[in-house]
Amino acid sequence: MTRHDRYQFTRRGFLGTAIAAGSVAAAGPLMAADTPLRIGMVPDAGATQVSVEAKAPLQAYLEKALGRPVKLIVPTNYNATVEGLGNGSLDVAYLGGLTYVKAHKRYGAVPLVQRKTDREFHSLFITRAGSGITKLADLKGKSFAFGDVNSTSGHLMPFHAMKAAGIDPETDIKARFTGSHPATIKAVEAGVVAAGACDETVFHQMVKDGKVDPAKVTVFYTTEPFVDYVWVARKGLDDATRTAIVKAFTALTPETDSKVLDILRGTEFVKADDKEYDLLRDTAKQAKLF
């Protein structure tokens, strides 16, 4: 964030929301075009505010498509992102399935778009080659890494899969939260934990980038498909902006936007629907995470 951006934001605060809202209504698109759209990114992909430059193509694409400045904000945890939608410091956020259902319930967050693969997402259970762990039952008594406590693919769904396999994650394994998918993968590779669970797209991307050796870290179980990541708008965000965001994402094609799609680790975007998350809500309730 630059000092200039903050200055604007703070000034708006001093004037009061009433005046700001009034002037937005009066000045219409002119005012909206000036204020940056604040987008909260996912914390568990392991990015920082400084390294956000790596996401410059995404920012440039959205600025062009929306016709206004875009600011990408990297939070340190999911809770802060969801609360950002509540306290109005974020307009749009990228959330996991579990955090989406929480944000929807707490603050009426509106689902916009998601990758086609998010409709049928999987968690991977990984271990070090030669660890002797080949199935979920082998995890009994072992050390295990989840990602962020609020992560769908890094905690909720692996938790659910273990329960279904007769392993109680609260008593049968020595569990820890690493806070992010890359951290889980690295912890398994280094042998800090016997096994872990992570997001499939992050794992494959790290293999592709040479950041993890697939000969050293192997997948021994893949969960049933579930619905995961989604881009959402805060409740009060205007319809025109929402529609423009949906349009911007669904228009992405591998032919012309490969750089942007690489950042998003996807190939095709579709409209998201709250109904898709009913099953996930039940699972989250059973796991006492919702």
């Binding site: 703070t10 605060g13 505010q49 390294s51 609360e83 306290n87 406590v149 690493t178 806070g179």
Partner: protein
């Protein structure tokens, strides 16, 4: 566990630090943010705590109640305040600034009050005798009499606040802390090392600047304009307050279910264990390092590098050690004990060295006159003579570490802090509030017990930085 080898491998991953010009340049933003929120918050805290401190110093009606409220606020761990501010005002330095301002307003008001209370009674009584009203007494007697002490103490607080701002950044308060957590999550350890070096340099620079300023405290006023600018830039928007009140409302009534109650004693025990063992480790590290850096006892060739090492250990807050150890050695109380031990070692080492330097010279010279070697002098004269002050410093550290044990717990070291953080992360705010209140009562109890012990033993004097830290 095949832990040791992997831990060593992890430590190797932190070197060499990423000192590329591009990264260092990119860090200018987070550094400015950290400095801005620290100085902005401290300006606000100073302005707010001066009148409150004067009121307490003059013993106005209800001063006891005010004092109790301030102690209460001070007992809330800074990280918890930061988490609440992030919830209320959003990610960024605005939340960090507010958290620091609240914490240090409480701390400084109380200590300003104590300073004013010790003003020489003569001039104050003389002014009162003229029939001057309390405001006049405050302005024309208390403030001038104590201005030097106030500035000295405030400058120590600025150093503490700088370290606190890094911790606060780690939960979304912006600046270097946020960057540090990001690099650890991304396993970008070489950049983590860079950030820690930046922190050490910053703390050392502030230390040097305030040291100079303490000689000429008026120059502290030069910090006011940039601090005011930072305050103006970062102070959260007023409409956030309504949301804050609503969110706090949702945290009541605090609630724990039967299972949580059953697990509570074990959680508290784990926190206490982290504090006690962390303090013990700190004292064990501090004793040899303190002796090795004592002027007049240890040769400069040994004393100077040890002193630098102690400075580095002090510059890195417990939570930062904790974040690194949790990321590398794994979650659990061991990481917490090591984190508290390393930082405490740095703090106690310096205080121990000062205690050794301040022992009565007679017995030391007597032993040295027998031709005893330095180690023998230390063992039979210096160390026994300094035993009292050593015990006071260690006791104070234990009290401080109990609070820090809940804080390192939040970043994964276990105990009640971890339970609190987990509840917060999962949006179970009523449960979080229950843990917060329990922690708060625990810290208040230990504060009381420690103050009582000190009074009974007649150990009232604290070093200024201990007063600032507490």
């Amino acid at each position: 566990m095949d832990g040791l080898a992997s831990t060593l491998g992890f430590i190797a991953g932190f070197f060499p630090p990423d000192l590329s010009p591009a990264y260092l340049l990119a860090l200018a933003g987070p550094v400015l943010e950290t400095l801005g929120m620290t100085f902005g918050a401290m300006l606000l805290a100073s302005v707010l705590s001066l009148p409150v401190g004067l009121y307490l110093g003059l013993g106005g009606p209800g001063a006891g109640v005010v004092r109790a409220v301030l102690s209460g606020v001070r007992a809330i761990p800074d990280l918890t305040l930061a988490i609440l501010c992030v919830i209320f005002f959003g990610i960024g330095p605005g939340a960090g600034l507010t958290a620091i301002a609240v914490f240090y307003t409480a701390a400084m008001s109380k200590n300003f009050g104590d300073l004013f209370a010790t003003a020489p009674p003569g001039p104050v009584a003389a002014l009162r005798a003229t029939g001057a009203r309390p405001v006049a007494v405050a302005l024309y007697a208390l403030v001038p009499l104590k201005s030097r002490d106030l500035l000295t103490y405030a400058s120590y607080e600025v150093e503490c606040a700088l370290r606190a701002s890094v911790i606060i950044g780690a939960v979304g308060g912006g600046g270097l802390g946020a960057e540090l957590v990001g690099t650890l999550n991304a396993f970008d350890f070489q950049r983590s090392t860079t950030l820690i070096l930046v922190l050490i340099v910053l703390v050392a620079a502030i230390d040097q600047i305030t040291l100079r300023l303490r000689a000429r405290p008026v120059w502290l006023l030069a910090l006011v304009p940039p601090s005011a600018l930072a305050l103006w830039l970062y102070l959260p928007a007023a409409p956030g307050l309504g949301f804050a009140l609503q969110t706090v409302g949702g945290m009541f009534p605090p609630q724990l279910d039967a299972g949580d109650w059953a697990a509570l004693p074990a959680l508290i025990w784990e926190t206490v264990r982290i504090a006690v063992l962390g303090t013990a480790l700190g004292a064990a590290l501090a004793l040899p390092m303190g002796l090795a850096s004592t002027r007049g006892l240890s040769p400069a060739i040994l004393a100077v590098p040890v002193r630098r090492l102690l400075e580095a250990l002090r510059a890195v807050p417990e939570v930062v050690f904790g974040l690194i150890l949790v990321a590398t050695a794994g979650v659990g109380p061991t990481a917490g004990i090591l984190a508290l031990g390393l930082h405490s070692g740095g703090c106690l080492g310096r205080l121990f060295a000062e205690s050794f330097e301040n022992v009565r010279p007679g017995p030391v010279q007597a032993v040295a006159a027998t031709g005893a070697r330095p180690l023998t002098v230390a063992a039979y004269a210096t160390a026994p003579l300094a035993l009292g002050p050593l015990a006071v410093h260690t006791l104070f550290r234990l009290e401080w570490n109990l609070r820090q044990a809940t804080v390192v717990g939040m970043i994964g070291a276990g105990g009640i802090g971890q339970a609190l953080f987990q509840a917060q992360q999962l949006f179970f705010y009523q449960k979080m509030m229950a843990y917060l209140l329990i922690t708060w009562v625990l810290v208040l109890l230990v504060d009381r017990a420690s103050a009582w012990t000190r009074r009974r033993a007649g150990w009232m004097e604290l070093a200024p930085e201990e007063m600032a830290a507490g």
